[in-house]
């Protein structure tokens, strides 16, 4: 309702011109408020569809997770301290991204860049550990082709890892954009979208470490 009213008033405001005493910020509100709002909502809808992809992979894992085909089980393969460290990296990167958002809100470019850099490094540490884990599993003959359990495991965890990889690519790109253009509204919007993406990945990881790793080692 308020959107319609505002649009209507802006049309009138444009007709009358600024001389007639219309507050210019009224038009500013209409032009600036609505597009950004729809970008964030649109990005949220993307995340929800991503959520469905992960739900399919979780369902696959739930069905195939105990089909070891005579091969190694989760209890034999999973190294929980390593998973705990990975979880810590991702959780820490979530809060450092939060700090980057707070600094960008204060229009503090330098601090924003530093926190983004820290977030990126934590993301890289997460990826490095995960790649180490994957290469170790493949090395001991527990690659994705070994059993239904390992196929479902690799599909789910690697899809998450791929998301983190692209999150880091996005983060680095955004750092270059910030360096070049500063904290303009467009970059603020991009930061906001990446923030949602990054926190969303952390939410997915909660499901992964609980459902795959912790429940996988239970007898």
């Amino acid at each position: 309702m308020s959107e319609i009213t505002a649009t209507y008033s802006s049309a009138i405001g444009a007709d009358r011109g600024v001389d007639s005493g219309v507050d210019p910020s009224t038009r500013y509100f209409v032009q600036e408020h609505h597009p950004e709002s729809s970008t964030l909502l649109g990005f949220w809808l993307y995340l929800m569809s991503d959520c469905l992809i992960f739900a399919c992979l979780f369902a696959t894992y739930a069905v195939l997770g105990r089909n070891y085909a005579g091969g190694p089980t989760g209890a034999e393969l999973f190294d929980l301290p390593l998973v705990a460290m990975n979880t810590a990296f991702l959780l820490l990167s979530s809060i450092t991204y939060g700090f980057a958002m707070l600094e960008s809100q204060k229009k503090n470019l330098r601090a924003t860049m530093i926190w983004l850099g820290v977030t990126g490094l934590l993301g890289l540490a997460f990826l490095a550990l995960e790649l180490y884990e994957f290469s170790h599993l493949i090395h001991v003959g527990a690659g994705p082709e070994r059993s239904g359990f390992l196929t479902a495991f690799f599909a789910l965890v690697a899809t998450h890892g791929l998301h983190v990889t692209f999150g880091i690519v996005w983060l680095v790109t955004l750092m270059f954009q910030l360096k070049r253009h500063g904290l303009i509204p467009e970059n603020g919007r991009r930061l906001m979208c990446l923030s949602m993406f990054w926190h969303f990945l952390d939410v997915i990881w909660i499901g992964v470490f609980t459902f795959v790793y912790l429940m996988g080692v239970l007898p």
Partner: protein
């Protein structure tokens, strides 16, 4: 008539978010909210790891349900403190999309698990539990035989 409407809407909008610019209408949280979220997450992560690694509860299905409960709580904590979800953001459309997604996910997950577990039971009648309880026969045995035939 329409101008005062727009202005008052705008004024209310500005008042809600204090000193933020016009482009900055989304709640980004504060150091406090992020810290609360982080501390809660650390606690909610540490307890499940401790439960499993320390083998605190002997019954594994009980442990499973407990750590799933912790995960659910932690997901809600992340949604509120990190993703800043509330019923008002984007005029309620975000929460509506979330509710819809959760509904689809729940139907899909419970449906898949329910159907597939019963499928396993029904396809191997000799392994079915006579009490009719939800029973997941070990597929290892069957799969091993299968590979041996090859």
């Amino acid at each position: 008539m329409s101008d005062p409407h727009a202005k008052s809407a705008h004024a209310a909008h500005g008042a809600e978010h204090g000193h933020h610019g016009h482009e900055d209408h989304v709640d980004h949280g504060s150091v406090k909210s992020y810290s609360i979220g982080f501390v809660l997450s650390v606690i909610l992560t540490a307890i499940p790891f401790w439960l499993v690694m320390g083998k605190v509860i002997t019954d594994s299905s009980t442990t499973g349900f407990v750590i799933l409960g912790f995960a659910a709580v932690q997901i809600v904590v992340h949604m509120i403190y990190f993703l800043h979800m509330n019923t008002k953001s984007e005029g309620g459309w975000s929460i509506l999309a979330l509710v819809f997604t959760v509904m689809v996910v729940v139907i899909m997950l419970t449906g898949s698990i329910w159907v597939m577990y019963h499928l396993n039971t029904n396809m191997m009648p000799h392994m079915a539990d006579p009490t009719g309880e939800l029973h997941m026969p070990s597929a290892t045995h069957d799969a091993t035989q299968h590979t041996q035939h090859k």
